[in-house]
Amino acid sequence: MKISRRNFLKSSATALFLAGFNLPVLANTKPKKNLVVIMLKGAMDSLYAVPVIGDKDLEERRQDLILDNAVKLDTDFALHPKLNSFYKSWQSNQASIVHATNIPYSKRSHFDGQNLMQSGGHIPYAVKTGWLGRGMNLAKLNGDGLALQLPMPLLLRGTSNNNNFFPAKKKLPNKEILEILKSHYKEHSEKDLEEMMNIISQRSMMTGETMSMSRDNNSLAFKAGSELKKVNGPRVAVFQVNGFDTHAAQSGVDGSHTDSLIEMDNIFNKLNESLGKEMKNTLILTLTEFGRTVTQNSGLGTDHGYASAIFLGGGLLKKSQVYSDWPGLKTKDLFQGRDLNSTIDARSVYASAMSSVFDLEFELIKKEVFWGDNLQNLTNILFKA
């Protein structure tokens, strides 16, 4: 039997009560913590978004991709000037970057890379669940995932009762029809259909306003924020931003890579706006399948590379920082002589983030979610305990 979150809370509450805990106090001291994951698809160019300052090699290799007005973050790194919301969070200690990081995958196929960044595994398509779904299941978070897209992403699979939202822009049939269907499903023991129809007919998201709602990430993020804010709302939200695969015309502050970065930045913005104070109990984390070549190509773009960066946001961060074990950009330092090297397994960040948000031991996550792979515990460096 699938245990819904509410049932689980009920049963654990009973157990705690029997053990003599003072329940109301316990409930009040534990805030609801949220994790938002943004998948950046197409390979985000970390050297463009978060360039290293004054690096001769970079300047030489990317004459047309150097941003004049990049915003200085610390002595070594700067930020793309259009990432306004991210920078605002940075100034209030709610934004970080992990640089020169990637999942352990170096073959440059979007396809395999996007599969692995979600499954957390080593062999494309071999694992049928996502690291986030497995982590949530470990934390007994069932019915707490919300995907802002049409199918359920691999990332969330591995736990039950996940919800998703992607405006159909068509009116749902009236309530009576949904109720008739629900009772028909029930009568005929169609558990999955009944469960989904329950979600559909109960959720607050399917109101008239969503009819005119756009499917862009701005609107989706605002909606997600308002859902995450609810005490009984989801605890995990998953977004995707496309268009990072800029083999050409990436150039300049107004190039196409910038459009995708702005789309990501807008998600930060809208979440901030709609989560408000609850942003302090929220963590935002980005994934991408790999980075892009250090050297620009003749079309003023970049090709598939290796390491990239992770953007982090929200009040669960320890402080604003660029965390990196910088490998350097001299030819000898590059992966296969062309790409930024990866010095941090991105899954160390994923595992540490889950440890912080789900209140699980890092070692347990490492063992149960990532098969005991050799991951670094970065919880204390990056996140509030």
């Binding site: 009576e176 028909h184 999955d192 050409a248 150039s251 079309g299």
Partner: protein, 475 residues
């Protein structure tokens, strides 16, 4: 019996009679490849469509990008222009029209449902513009045309089809010890195998990982396949697939314990052996049962199909007949969750809804002109319901596991698009009387369905209820 008809086809249409002997009705469709029902002026070959894709080549697009690299607005406009001129966006509509006409208007819907199975088995996923130009034609020529041949023949033709070679990068699969490989190495350039196609041929198309192949087998398979490529000329235009000895890895290869001499013949020989491998027939039998009967089929279900394969040496009409017979036997006990496209087609078939653009509408399209709504209705619909046969994201194709089609939003799509389709049904067919007869023709348990439908009076409400009942979602 009626449930079985829906299970293996798309149901019984308004002007059709319920087959009196459904099992033989189904089996009789499987002996040969029927002529396509589409009566448009022209059906284009994959080779012809490749010429259009060649005009939309990377090189052509790069020319535009370079020219307007500092002017994103004009860049977008010029890109659009080139796309329309080369038929990007049009060919899909034409191919979907051909595809769906086979489901709705042909006398071989069972054959068609199996065609969809094989097209998905030998998937071309939506990369490198293939979905826009080639996939539809490939599914007709390399897949459908081979459905009265052996599996071995279909597997070989699919493997050396230009869209597949392009899809899985085999042109870049170069034997390191081949003349070209050695020459490149002497100039300090890398020349390597590309394992992509070799791995998928083993994993997805024939024996599956259950056969126990290892990384060495994959490498050896890549060696064996090196040389099968399509040449790209200086303008970036692709030619036919052929065997180029100068990039073929010399020496004998060993795959799953069997030896192969170097050269062109290795590929047909290895595909023959893979087709005879027990893991291959077990894998395909499992997938057929999964498509028609249930997510996780039992050995008892797959056995008759495996036996038919053994007996006929993988002759597809016999394999198909065995699968249909198994589906018939298990039909009362097992209902299979229908993927969105097959669900949509059931609804269209049973109600007679008019959604396929006429051959005239598509034939009248002039390349370069804007594509209008009435032309792309199927394309838009399939995208909206989240299941477009040319836009699979992965080389393993669309899933046949129910869980992958279960999300609240995907169920919402079924609710709202059943409503949309109702408006495409002609007035006479919208009446409650018509529905009563249609339900009688298509379901073994009409009373149970009518009981639920009778909770609403309005025809549109009854329509939405019907097409979201488990009796329709699962067949």
């Amino acid at each position: 019996m009626k449930d079985f008809v829906r299970k293996v086809s798309f149901g019984v249409g308004p002007d059709e009679r319920v087959p009196t002997d459904p099992l033989n009705w189904a089996k009789n469709q499987l002996n040969s490849v029927p002529k396509l029902k589409w009566d448009g002026k022209k059906i284009y070959t994959e080779k012809e469509l490749r010429e259009f894709q060649n005009k939309y080549s990377l090189k052509e697009r790069k020319k535009i990008r370079d020219k307007y690299k500092n002017d994103p607005d004009t860049l977008k406009k010029e890109q659009r222009k080139l796309a329309l001129k080369t038929g990007r966006g049009h060919w899909i509509n034409l191919e979907l029209g051909i595809r769906h006409t086979e489901a709705i208007h042909s006398n071989s819907p069972v054959f068609t449902k199996l065609w969809y199975f094989w097209a998905n088995h030998f998937t071309i996923s939506s990369i490198k513009q293939l979905q826009q130009f080639s996939t539809g034609a490939y599914q007709r020529e390399s897949i459908r045309e081979n459905m009265d041949q052996t599996f071995e023949k279909m597997a070989f033709d699919a493997t050396v089809a230009w869209p597949m070679i392009r899809h899985l990068d085999n042109s870049q699969n170069i034997g390191p010890d081949s003349p070209v490989g050695l020459k490149r190495a002497s100039r300090g350039k890398e020349a390597t195998i590309n394992e992509n196609h070799a791995r998928e041929l083993l994993e997805l198309h024939t024996v599956s990982p259950n056969s126990g192949y290892n990384q060495d087998d994959v490498i050896q398979m890549s060696y064996l396949m090196s040389g099968w490529r399509s040449r790209k000329n200086k303008e970036g235009k692709f030619g036919d697939v052929y065997f180029e000895p100068n990039i073929h890895q010399p020496g004998r290869k060993r795959i799953l314990g069997l030896g192969y001499n170097e050269g062109e013949k290795g590929l047909s020989k290895v595909i023959r052996d893979l087709s005879k491998n027990p893991s291959c027939r077990e894998f395909i039998a499992m997938k057929l049962c999964r498509y028609l009967i249930t997510d996780y089929p039992s050995k008892e279900m797959t056995k008759p199909i495996v036996d038919a394969w053994k007996k006929s040496d993988g002759y597809l009409p016999e394999v198909h007949k065995a699968a249909i017979e198994v589906a018939f036997n298990y039909s009362p006990m097992y209902k299979k969750f229908q993927n969105p496209e097959n669900w949509l087609l059931q609804m269209v078939k049973m109600t007679g809804a008019n959604i396929i653009p006429s051959p005239k509408i598509l034939d009248n399209h002039v390349l370069g002109n804007k594509i209008n709504k009435s032309q792309k209705v199927l394309h838009v619909l399939l995208n909206s319901i989240g299941h477009h046969p040319y836009f699979s994201k992965q080389p393993n194709g669309w899933s046949d596991i129910s869980d992958d089609w279960m999300s609240p939003e995907l169920l919402i799509r079924r609710l709202v698009y059943s409503k949309e389709i109702f408006n495409k049904i002609k007035k006479n067919n919208q009446s409650n009387d018509f529905y009563a007869e249609m339900i009688l023709k298509n379901f073994d348990n009409p009373n149970q369905i009518l009981k639920t439908l009778n909770k609403r009076k309005e025809p549109i409400d009854r329509h939405i209820l019907l097409f979201n009942l488990p009796e329709v979602l699962k067949s």
